[in-house]
C-alpha cells in the first residue's frame, strides 16, 4: 500500500504454499528425518539435513567424530559460497543491473572498467566483452527474451552506466558456469548436489587414504582445488562487483532497515555443536540496533523462541497464543478466500508462514544479522571485512542498517566463508595426519540404545539466517518435529500484538518511481534472499 | 452329511488305561496318491526350504564377510542362483501338479475349495468340529476340506511367489522376456521395493502353512491310524468302515 507520494505505507507478506512436512514426519524413524527435511528446500539444500541430524544427535546423545564435524563444516560453508554467489548474480543482480542497457556499452571501456574493478581476473579483454555483447544482442534481437522478458528494463531506478551493466552480464554468465563446479564438494562428501546425503552420528562417507573406494588423496585434491577456485571467484568477481554496483546506489543505504532486531544462532563449530563459544559464526541477539550488547539465546527455554499463528492459516488449541517448538503444533486451517482471489485480508489470517518470536520480539535473521552479531561481539575477522568495505564505500556503520547493507553483508561474509573453507580443509588434513580417520560414531545407531522419551534441538545458521529443528522422540519414533526456518522469521506475518515481520517492516517507507513496476520493492525483498519453500515447509 | 456323522466311531482310548475298548483299526488299503502327486510333493518339499533359506539369505546376508578379494567368492551370487534354480523347479512342479488336478484320479481334486457349492461349506464346518473334538470321526480318503483349503492357499502363495519372483528377476533384464510378460505387475504392487517386501512376506506364510501341515499330517497319521505319513511315499492310505471315500470328481 502506497501513500500519495509513492512511498510504501503498509505491507503484508504472505506465503501461499504449504506442504506439511512437519506433519508427514510424525511417526517416522528419526534417522530418516534428514532426507525429508532436506527436501524443504533445494536452494539451501544441505542445511535442513544438517539441522536434522544435529537435532536427533542432541536428543539421543551422540557425539560425532571430529572429522565428521569438519566435513559437515566444509559442506556447510560450500553451501554458503555457492548460495550467496547465485543469489547475488542470478536472483538479485537484475534488480540493479539493466541487461538491455548493456547493448549500449563500449566493450573497450568495459574492459578497462573490469580491469580496474578486479585486476587479477583473467577474462577482461575488450574482445571478450564484445562477444558477450553480441550474445546479448542476438538474444534481444530474437525478440524472445525468455526469462528476461517483461522485466523493468529502462526503469529510472537503474543507475549503472552501460559498461557496468555489460560487465555484470558477463559475470552473471561466468558465475552460472562456476556454481556447478563448487558443488562438486557436496558430490565428493555427500554423493550429489542438490540434496547430498547426511547421516545421524557422522557423515556417510569414509576416509581411506590407502584405498580408492573412499575419500583419498585424489578426492581431497579435488576439494582443495575447488576451494581455491571459489576463493578466486569471491575475491575477484563477487565482492568487487558487489562493491562496484553498490557505489552507484548510495541512497539504498538509507532504505529498507526494518526491524532493527537481529539474531544469529551461530555455526561452524570448532569444538562440537554443543560449544557455541567456539563457533566461527557467533551466536547472539541484538535488539533495537544496539551494537553495544549481544544477548544470549537458549533454544530449550519455553519462553524464548516461540511461534504464533494469529495471522497464519493454522489452528492452536483454544486460547493458546504462542508455543515453544517442542510443544509446537502444525494443524492447517485455511480461512483465506477461495482461489482465484485478488486480495488477502490482513486483519485475518493471510499466510502459511507462522510468526516466530524471540522473547516476544520479531527478529531479522540472515547475513546482516550475522555480520552485526560478529561485529558487536568484537570479533576481529568480522570487524576487518566490515570496516574495509565501509571505507571503500565511504559510509559509516549506520549504512549497514539498510537494503544495501544486507546485500553487502552477504558478500562480506562470503569472503569469510571462503577463507574458513580452506581452514577447515587444512584441519581435516591435520586430523588425518594425526591418525584419526573416523567419520561416524555408531554406538547409538540402533534405536534400542535410545531413551524411551527424549527431546533435542539442532541449530544451524543457514545462508538465509538462523535455522533450528526441534524433535521429540517417543518409542523410537518421531512424536513431534518442528522446524523454524530463517525465512519463517523474515517472512513472518504479524503476530497477535500486531507486530510486523522483517519483510513487512523493511518495506515501510520505500519510495517508488512507478507503482506498476515495483523494482524498489524487489530490491528490498530480494536483499533478504527470500525462500518461500523454506518459510512454510 | 447327517448320515456321515452317525457313522462316527467311538472315542480313542486314553493313555495308560488297559485296552478295554475297541480301538478302530484301519482295515482297508487304497491307492490314493499317484506318482505325479507324490513326486511333485517331494519336489515341493525340497524346493520350499531351499527357497526359503536362500531367500532369507538374499534378504539378510547373514554370513559375515571375511577379508579377501571379491573374486574368491560368489556367496550372494550362488544364493541367488540356487534361489532362481529352485524357483523354476518349484514352478515346474506346480505346473505338473495343476495339470494333474485335471487329469489325475479323483483324489487329486479332493478337498479343493469349491466355495460356490453349499456342500463345501458343510464339509468345512464338519471338519472343524471333528478337529475340535480331537476324535477320529471319519477320515477322508483323499484330502479333507480343510487340508484342501490350505493346499489351495499354498499353491496360490507359490503362484504369487512365482509372479513376483519372476517380475523381480525380469528387472535385471529390462525388455527381456520376464520384464515384458510380468513387468507390468510391479507398479500394481507399489513398485519394485514393495514387491520384494510382499515376496518376502508371502514366503513366511508358505512356511507357516508347511509347519501346520507337517504337524497335522503327523497328528492325523498317529491318532487315526490312516497311514497318512506313509501314503505320500507309497501312495496308499488305510481306511475303516465309515471313512469318506471322496472318489468323485470333486470334493
Amino acid at each position: 500500500m502506497l501513500d500519495d507520494k509513492g512511498v510504501v505505507k503498509d505491507a503484508i507478506s504472505s506465503g501461499t504454499m504449504w506442504r506439511g512436512i512437519e506433519v508427514i514426519l510424525q511417526g517416522r524413524d528419526p534417522r530418516d528425518a534428514w532426507a525429508f527435511v532436506e527436501r524443504i528446500c533445494g536452494v539451501c539444500t544441505t542445511v535442513h539435513a544438517l539441522a536434522s541430524v544435529r537435532a536427533v544427535e542432541n536428543a539421543v546423545g551422540i557425539q560425532v567424530p571430529k572429522n565428521a564435524d569438519i566435513i559437515r563444516n566444509i559442506m556447510f560453508l560450500t553451501q554458503y559460497v555457492q548460495d550467496h554467489v547465485i543469489h547475488f548474480y542470478h536472483l538479485h543482480a537484475l534488480d540493479w543491473v539493466d541487461v538491455v542497457s548493456a547493448l549500449k556499452a563500449n566493450p573497450a571501456a568495459t574492459a578497462a572498467l573490469a580491469q580496474k574493478v578486479s585486476p587479477s581476473w583473467p577474462t577482461t579483454s575488450p574482445g571478450y566483452f564484445a562477444d558477450i555483447q553480441n550474445t546479448v544482442k542476438k538474444f534481444v534481437d530474437s525478440g524472445q527474451l525468455g526469462i528476461f522478458q517483461n522485466a523493468y528494463w529502462g526503469h529510472p531506478a537503474y543507475k549503472l552506466p552501460p559498461e557496468a551493466n555489460l560487465m555484470a552480464v558477463a559475470h552473471y554468465l561466468e558465475a552460472l558456469q562456476w556454481q556447478k563446479e563448487i558443488v562438486k564438494i557436496h558430490a565428493v562428501f555427500g554423493g550429489k548436489n542438490p540434496h547430498p546425503n547426511y547421516l545421524v552420528g557422522g557423515v556417510p562417507v569414509s576416509i581411506n587414504l590407502n584405498g580408492d573406494n573412499a575419500i583419498n588423496m585424489e578426492r581431497l585434491n579435488m576439494v582443495h582445488d575447488l576451494i581455491v577456485q571459489a576463493q578466486g571467484i569471491v575475491e575477484n568477481l563477487y565482492v568487487p562487483d558487489l562493491l562496484a554496483i553498490a557505489s552507484f546506489y548510495p541512497e539504498w543505504t538509507k532504505i529498507g532497515a526494518g526491524l532493527g532486531n537481529y539474531m544469529s544462532y551461530g555455526d561452524v563449530p570448532q569444538n562440537g555443536i554443543g560449544d557455541p563459544s567456539k563457533f566461527l559464526i557467533p551466536r547472539g541477539v541484538i535488539l533495537n540496533k544496539n551494537l553495544g550488547e549481544v544477548l544470549p539465546i537458549d533454544h530449550t527455554s519455553a519462553s524464548e523462541i516461540q511461534e504464533q499463528v494469529a495471522h497464519s492459516w493454522y489452528d492452536y488449541p483454544g486460547g493458546t497464543k504462542a508455543l515453544h517448538p517442542w510443544d509446537g503444533i502444525t494443524k492447517p486451517n485455511y480461512t483465506g478466500p477461495k482461489p482465484p482471489y485478488q486480495n488477502l485480508d490482513e486483519n485475518g489470517a493471510y499466510s502459511w508462514v507462522k510468526a516466530p518470536r524471540w522473547k516476544g520480539h520479531a527478529m531479522e535473521v540472515g547475513p546482516l544479522a550475522r555480520m552485526l552479531v560478529g561485529f558487536a561481539s568484537g570479533r576481529s575477522d568480522y570487524k576487518e571485512v566490515v570496516t574495509e568495505a565501509l571505507g571503500r564505500l565511504k559510509v559509516g556503520p549506520e549504512a549497514l542498517f539498510s537494503t544495501l547493507g544486507r546485500t553487502a553483508a552477504r558478500g562480506l561474509e562470503t569472503r569469510l566463508a571462503a577463507k574458513w573453507l580452506l581452514d577447515e580443509y587444512n584441519k581435516l588434513i591435520a586430523n588425518l595426519k594425526a591418525g584419526d580417520s573416523s567419520t561416524a560414531n555408531t554406538t547409538k545407531w540402533a534405536p534400542e540404545t535410545w531413551p524411551e522419551d527424549c527431546k533435542g534441538f539442532g541449530p544451524s545458521e543457514a545462508p538465509r539466517g538462523a535455522l533450528c529443528h526441534w524433535i521429540h522422540i517417543k518409542d523410537k519414533k518421531i512424536f513431534n518435529y518442528q522446524v523454524v526456518v530463517p525465512s519463517t522469521w523474515n517472512a513472518s506475518p504479524k503476530d497477535g500484538d500486531g507486530q510486523k515481520g522483517a519483510y513487512e517492516s523493511a518495506l515501510l517507507g520505500t519510495p517508488m518511481a512507478d507503482s506498476n513496476k515495483p523494482v524498489e520493492l524487489m530490491r528490498t525483498i530480494h536483499s533478504f534472499d527470500p525462500c518461500l519453500a523454506c518459510a512454510t515447509h | 452329511m447327517a448320515m456321515l456323522i452317525e457313522t462316527k466311531t467311538p472315542p480313542l482310548k486314553p493313555l495308560g488305561k488297559k485296552e478295554t475298548e475297541v480301538i478302530p483299526q484301519a482295515t482297508k488299503r487304497h491307492y490314493v496318491w499317484q506318482v505325479p502327486i507324490r513326486l511333485t510333493h517331494w519336489v515341493n518339499a525340497l524346493a520350499i526350504p531351499v527357497l526359503f533359506f536362500t531367500g532369507l539369505f538374499i534378504a539378510t546376508p547373514f554370513f559375515s564377510p571375511t577379508p579377501g578379494e571379491a573374486f574368491e567368492r560368489f556367496t550372494m551370487g550362488h544364493m541367488r542362483e540356487f534361489h532362481f534354480i529352485f524357483g523354476y523347479v518349484l514352478l515346474l512342479s506346480i505346473a505338473v501338479r495343476v495339470y494333474w488336478f485335471f487329469v489325475g484320479n479323483n483324489y487329486a481334486r479332493s478337498g479343493f475349495p469349491f466355495f460356490w457349492k453349499p456342500s463345501w461349506y458343510k464339509a468345512v464346518i464338519h471338519q472343524m468340529i471333528e478337529y475340535m473334538h480331537l476324535e477320529r470321526g471319519y477320515v477322508n480318503i483323499g484330502h479333507n476340506s480343510l487340508a484342501g483349503c490350505s493346499y489351495a492357499g499354498f499353491f496360490a502363495l507359490c503362484g504369487f511367489e512365482g509372479v513376483t519372483g519372476l517380475a523381480l528377476l525380469g528387472e535385471g533384464n529390462p525388455g527381456g522376456f520376464w520384464d515384458r510378460v510380468l513387468g507390468w505387475t510391479t507398479p500394481l504392487l507399489g513398485g519394485s521395493f514393495r514387491v520384494h517386501m510382499w515376496h518376502h512376506l508371502a514366503a513366511w506364510f508358505i512356511i507357516l502353512i508347511a509347519m501346520f501341515h507337517i504337524y497335522i499330517v503327523l497328528y492325523d497319521s498317529h491318532l487315526y491310524k490312516d497311514g497318512l505319513v506313509d501314503s505320500i511315499i507309497s501312495g496308499e492310505k488305510h481306511s475303516i468302515e465309515g471313512d469318506k471315500d471322496a472318489n468323485t470328481w470333486i470334493s
Binding site: 554423493g191 | 518376502h200 497311514g227
Partner: protein, 380 residues
C-alpha cells in the same frame, strides 16, 4: 560470435545442433500430429517452423523445493546457459525470471496464446488437490488450475523430478495437501516423467535436447520415463556389484568394509529396486553418486520411495496401518505363535487321549484302486 541477419528460427537452431532437413521435416510432421493437424497442413507447418523462433518453454513451479531447477542449472553438457540462450526460449519460470508479480503471469498468458500448441510445458513440483488447492496458489490462482490451463495447449509436457512425476515428499503419508503428480491430473496428453529427487542435471538437459534434436519424444517405458536414462536399475550398473555378488557387505557405518567400498545392501541401499542412471551418468559432471560417497541409494526416483522406509532397513515395513513392521518380524511372530499353538494342541491331545502306541497297528488289506482311475467316475 556470428550475428544472424534475421531472428534465429527453430530450424536455424536445430541445424546449428546438427539436425538435418529430413529430421526437421519429421519433427514438423510429428508436431502437426501432436497438435491435431492433418497431413495436408504439414507443409505450412514446415514453412512456419523454418521461420518461427526458438521453442517456447513454460516452466511451472508447484509444491516443490526448487531443487529440480537447481539441478538443471548444474548441467555440464550442455551448460544451462546454452539451453536458455540458444536452444529454447524459457519464457516463463517464476524462479529464474527477472520480472515478478503480475508481469510474469501476463507472459504466461501471452505465450499460451501466441504459441498455442507449440510450447513445451515443463512442470516442477506438483498440485495440491485438497481444499480447492489452497495449499499452493500463485497470484491468487490455485496451481492446480494454472497447471490444467497451461497444459491444455501444450505441445508436450515434461514432468521434472519426483514431485511432478511421482508425488514425492509432500505426497508421502498422510499427504496433508492431497498432492498429486502431473500424470494423475493430465490424462489426455503424453507426459514425459523425469523422476529423481532431483533428477540428474544431464538427464534433464538430455531429455530436453533430445526433444529438440530428434524432434520426437524419446522412447518411454511403462511409467512414462525415457528409457535412455531409466531402463536399468542402479544395482545392475553399480561399481560395488562385485562385492554384492561376493557377499561382502558394509555391516556398520565407517567399518572396514565401508573403507574398502563394499556393497551397501545391508545398510538399506535401494539400488536393487531403483531405476535411474546415477551409477552410470553420475552426478555433478560425473564426480560421484550417493553410493560412491558411502550412503546407500534411497530410491529417490521411485514412486512412493518416501513411504518405503525406514531407509536404513533392507525391506520396507508393511504399509498396512496398525501393522507397520517388517515381513520378518511378522513372519517370526506368527511362526512362534503357531509353534506355541501346536504345542498347546499337542499337550491337550496328550492330556485327553494319551499317547498311543503306533506299533499295535495291524496291516490292513489291499483294496482295488482300479475304480479310482476310471474317468467315468468324474462328475459329482
Amino acid at each position: 560470435m556470428e550475428v544472424l541477419e534475421r531472428k534465429p528460427s527453430t530450424y536455424d537452431i536445430l541445424r546449428a545442433h546438427g539436425v538435418d532437413r529430413r529430421t526437421f521435416l519429421k519433427f514438423c510432421t510429428q508436431s502437426a500430429a501432436a497438435i491435431g493437424l492433418t497431413s495436408a497442413m504439414v507443409p505450412q507447418l514446415v514453412a512456419a517452423m523454418e521461420k518461427k523462433p526458438r521453442i517456447p518453454v513454460i516452466w511451472l513451479h508447484g509444491l516443490e523445493c526448487t531443487c529440480c531447477s537447481e539441478s538443471f542449472i548444474r548441467s555440464s553438457h550442455p551448460i544451462a546457459q546454452d539451453i536458455v540462450l540458444n536452444l529454447i526460449s524459457l519464457d516463463y519460470d517464476d524462479t529464474l525470471q527477472a520480472a515478478a508479480g503480475f508481469q510474469v503471469e501476463e507472459i504466461r498468458k501471452k505465450v499460451m496464446k501466441d504459441y498455442k500448441g507449440e510450447y513445451i510445458l515443463a512442470v516442477e513440483g506438483n498440485a495440491a488437490t485438497n481444499d480447492n488447492g489452497v495449499y499452493c496458489t500463485i497470484g491468487g490462482e490455485s496451481f492446480t488450475n494454472i497447471l490444467l490451463e497451461t497444459a491444455k495447449d501444450a505441445k508436450a509436457i515434461v514432468a521434472w523430478g519426483s514431485c511432478a512425476s511421482n508425488g514425492c515428499v509432500q505426497a508421502a503419508k498422510p499427504n496433508p495437501t492431497g498432492a498429486k503428480p502431473v500424470y494423475k491430473l493430465i490424462t489426455d496428453k503424453p507426459v514425459i516423467n523425469v523422476p529423481g529427487c532431483p533428477p540428474i542435471a544431464e538427464v534433464m538437459t538430455g531429455v530436453l535436447t533430445y526433444l529438440l534434436t530428434f524432434g520426437e519424444l524419446p522412447e518411454l517405458d511403462r511409467q512414462g520415463r525415457p528409457k535412455m536414462f531409466y531402463a536399468q536399475r542402479i544395482h545392475d550398473k553399480c561399481y560395488r556389484r562385485a562385492f554384492f555378488d561376493a557377499g561382502m557387505f558394509v555391516e556398520a557405518w565407517d567399518d572396514e568394509g565401508a573403507k574398502k567400498g563394499w556393497c551397501l545392501y545391508k545398510m538399506g541401499c535401494r539400488g536393487p529396486s531403483t531405476f535411474n542412471s546415477c551409477s552410470t551418468t553420475k552426478w555433478n559432471c560425473g564426480v560421484s553418486f550417493p553410493i560412491q560417497s558411502g550412503h546407500g541409494c534411497i530410491g529417490c526416483s521411485e514412486e512412493n520411495f518416501w513411504d518405503n522406509g525406514p531407509f536404513y532397513q533392507r525391506l520396507s515395513n508393511i504399509p498396512v496401518p496398525g501393522i507397520e513392521s517388517t515381513p520378518d518380524s511378522i513372519g517370526k511372530t506368527l511362526t512362534v505363535l503357531s509353534a506355541a499353538g501346536i504345542g498347546a494342541h499337542l499337550v491337550s491331545v496328550v492330556a485327553r487321549k494319551g499317547v498311543r502306541n503306533l506299533t499295535s497297528n495291524p496291516e490292513p488289506e489291499k483294496s482295488e484302486p482300479a475304480e479310482n482311475q476310471n474317468p467315468e467316475n468324474r462328475g459329482n
